[in-house]
Amino acid sequence: MANHNAHSGHGGHEGGHGSLKSYVIGFILSIVLTIIPLVAVMNDMFSKQVTTVLILVMAILQFAVQLLFFMHIRDEKKPRFNLIALIFGLVIMLTIVAGSIWIMTYNAVAS
């Protein structure tokens, strides 16, 4: 029945998961993932390009950590509308950013 399928809501509160352990792990990971780019930038450890890539990767990992350990995206039941919506949203968001950068490089103003 549809409502059976439709019944999925957001996880994060369906009993078993969301344990203290997962929050602590998530917290520690997010601290580590913040410190790495900080150290890399403050000490000028790598070339500009490498640093840029590094800190962006760290930010994305950090995002994944929040999603998995704090927002419990894994625990959603099927059909996973939350996840689908999120992925679609991220694709569009990246399109907006990357598309703007691409198009606007050719129309920069003298400044």
Partner: protein
């Protein structure tokens, strides 16, 4: 979430159970959580647009100061850790709620709100500092984009604070009910989300700014 208290939780959607009050609420509250999730995704797009604007205009300082010249990283690092911690404490609040501990829930929410308030305090101080250094929203495209992006995030946090306060009052009056439970769930989602956004603000505006 209502599984713990709803003996009929296995049978939602079946017409025969439609009258069941707890069940009715269960579906309703779950739907609201889903709706809020979708709202958060629209917020992703909103911030994405602001990020796109910032990145495109990042070099347009019109002869004025650049971000790298004025940003003072220590304060920003402090606020980053404060916000990270508050994301964690809001999670603890949720755990307390699931254990049915109203007092613990309220205490952890208050801690979260206080951390949030200190984040806002630091941000306001930073803005005042920048204005003193001669960087306002009207200084150049760079600073317009800077203040708008960072400020929009700050506005979100402030709204979250007001909302959290309202929620704490409701919790202390009504205790943990399906409705207040859903509200706590939602606000903690919101709070984690703001943390994620901040990570990107921190990386793209501040770290890359001083690189």
């Amino acid at each position: 979430m209502a599984h713990a208290i709803d003996p009929h939780a296995g049978a939602h959607g079946h017409p025969a159970h439609d009258h069941h009050h707890g069940h009715d609420h269960h579906d309703q509250e779950e739907m609201k959580t889903f709706g809020f999730w979708l709202f958060l995704i629209t917020d992703v797009i909103l911030f994405g647009t602001l990020f796109a604007t910032f990145v495109v205009l990042r070099l347009n300082t019109a002869g004025g100061p650049t971000g790298g010249e004025l940003i003072e990283l220590p304060g920003i690092i402090a606020s980053t850790f404060i916000l990270l911690t508050s994301s964690f404490t809001s999670g603890i609040a949720l755990l307390e709620m699931n254990r049915g501990n109203k007092k613990g829930l309220i205490v952890w929410l208050i801690i979260t709100a206080l951390l949030g308030a200190s984040f806002i305090y630091l941000e306001v101080t930073e803005f005042i500092h920048l204005v003193h250094e001669g960087a306002t929203i009207g200084t150049s495209a760079y600073w317009s984009a800077f203040f708008t992006l960072v400020g929009t995030h700050g506005l979100h946090v402030s709204v979250g604070l007001v909302w959290m306060t309202a929620l704490i009052i409701q919790l202390s009056r009504r205790g943990i009910t399906p409705v207040t439970k859903r509200k706590v769930n939602i606000i903690s989602l919101y709070w984690h989300f703001l943390d994620v956004v901040w990570i990107f603000v921190f990386t793209i505006v501040y770290l890359m700014g001083v690189m």
